[in-house]
Symmetry: C2
Subunit: 332 residues, 2 copies
């Protein structure tokens, strides 16, 4: 592709990102230093390559998805964060009083605020967690609570109504055995070891061992199933306030997608680095662009995603997410 064509594409993409209006040949004469007719000829070339599109036969050009992709990969230069924005983010990262998940949630609030796009965290406790301790706390004659804590400080609890034949001391005793034997076991292997290592032991020492076993089993399975839970949104309205959402149907469609938890969960990313999915490339909605990055930090991991129109300000968002990506990943 010729230099002038690259420059032309860049100008068109950036103009469209700013104004949301199809770009006419005349408006680019000055920038490209040639007449509108020349630009029109080049536009035809770019259109034949599939990088530009027209709304109708005599309108200005808008970038195609392929055009955006070319722009993102070859023409765009990520923008550095402003000092002010860095400051805002640092305030959060360095606040030790926040639980990590709160910190990340707040982080997304800020992302949404400074980019003016919708952002999402899909967080889960990391599979790297290992068992630190399980405790049984009796609440009444027949009610107990089981609290599971991992080495990374993730705590979860579950209540149980216990059958009359189980004595609470048996539960406590079992919890002590588990704590001794399974300390440091990766949290997603605990269920298995419960069955193969613990069950045989308690079967000798405890009368109602089957029921007791089931309670702990359930407690740990509950823990595992809660791993995936946390979804946090920020700035849902930012997207639908973009001028491309100027009709009711479109807004309703996207709003109800935001409500669809299954769909949101699909946003989860597993590739490292900054990943850009333009229009049809993403599973969420063909009219938006989703830019994602992952984090691994203090025993939690997850995806941070920014959702905006296809004419997203790629340079700013990539700059911002790169910064976050660097700050929220620790080496294994």
């Amino acid at each position: 592709m010729e230099e002038r064509q690259k420059k032309l594409l860049k100008e068109i993409v950036e103009s469209y990102i700013k104004t949301v209006k199809p770009v006419g040949s005349k408006s680019l004469c000055e920038k490209l230093n040639c007449s509108s007719a020349t630009i029109r000829n080049e536009m035809v070339a770019l259109e034949e390559m599939g990088l530009l599109e027209k709304n109708h036969i005599s309108s200005g050009r808008i970038p195609s998805e392929k055009g955006y992709r070319y722009y993102v990969e070859n023409l765009m230069k990520p923008k550095e964060l402003t000092g002010e924005d860095v400051l805002k983010l640092q305030t959060i990262f360095s606040n030790n009083n926040l639980q990590l998940s709160d910190a990340i949630n707040q982080c997304v609030e800020i992302i949404s605020e400074i980019t003016n796009y919708t952002s999402i965290v899909l967080g889960k406790k990391s599979h790297n967690n290992t068992l630190r301790q399980v405790s049984i706390i009796p609440l009444s004659e027949e009610k107990i609570i089981a609290v599971v804590c991992t080495d990374q400080g993730v705590v979860q609890n579950k209540q149980f109504i216990i059958p009359k034949q189980i004595r609470i001391e048996e539960l406590v005793k079992t919890s002590e055995i588990i704590n001794k034997m399974l300390l440091g076991t990766p949290i997603d292997e605990v269920s298995e070891r419960l069955e193969y290592d613990i069950k045989p032991i308690i079967s000798k020492k405890i009368e109602q061992y089957e029921s007791v076993y089931h309670i702990f089993m359930e407690a740990f399975q509950n823990f595992a199933s809660n791993l995936q839970e946390n979804i946090h949104f920020s700035g849902k309205h930012k997207l639908i306030e973009k001028p491309e959402y100027n009709n009711v149907e479109e807004i309703r469609k996207i709003t109800s997608k935001f409500e669809d938890e299954k769909l949101i969960k699909k946003i989860e990313e597993n590739k490292k680095g900054i990943n850009i999915y333009i229009g049809e490339e993403n599973e969420f909605d063909p009219n938006v662009t989703v830019i994602k990055t992952t984090y691994h930090y203090h025993g939690e991991e997850g995806t941070i995603a920014i959702i905006g129109p296809k004419r997203m300000e790629y340079d700013r968002v990539v700059g911002l997410l790169s910064y976050i990506n660097e700050n929220l990943n620790e080496e294994d």
Copy 2:
């Protein structure tokens, strides 16, 4: 107000609720058993009382807010739940495996599903909770986690980086003292008793008692401040899918109100029973009706609110919320 006028108002309100179309005199002839002219005369009377309104000089009538209020207070009869709906709700209430807050969240999902309106829970742990146990779990040399559990089974935790001069045994010892002395203390009095009862004791037994005291203080205060947190939405899109939201501006306005946490928190209710706020009567948005009820159950309390257009199906919603209100309130 005359009988016929009451009947007329009732018919108009119910027709408008169903069809969202201004109600003309002709369409009511059969129901009221008289001519359209008579109805028009009565309509003028109702309009003069402020119960009806017109969109423009020659349109049909729609109920005013005052009209809805009169309807709600005098003309409406709450609808019984269908057996199917009762079943759905009972399944949740009687599922002992669910944490209460999950149960209530699920309950709202169902409310939203069967009413087709947006619903919200504003939940908090009840102030009635008393301290059951606080435990210190060491995670590493310098990191511990404090887990607080109440008699109602509410569990919360907070991580601390501890200063080098504090020994973990001191923390554990203090936690034992607290557990012995403050067992059964109402959770919102714990901080106070920590200062007046516990501090003097540990000051004699423990070297770094000031720092130790502060850690527990923070843990309990963190607990207290988390009391108000839980907000759960369901069916946000249901409201904006109603035909009255047929323009982009209106939808954007309401969507961004849903994002405004401060505003949402104002929805919290403190009156008992079922409370209806029509249009200007509610603080959330003058174009909607909010119907609320409160719950007090198993150590948690909060507000359940249903948000719909002013032409809400009052009879169904009131019926549903009454049922929920009866099932989710235990006497003190």
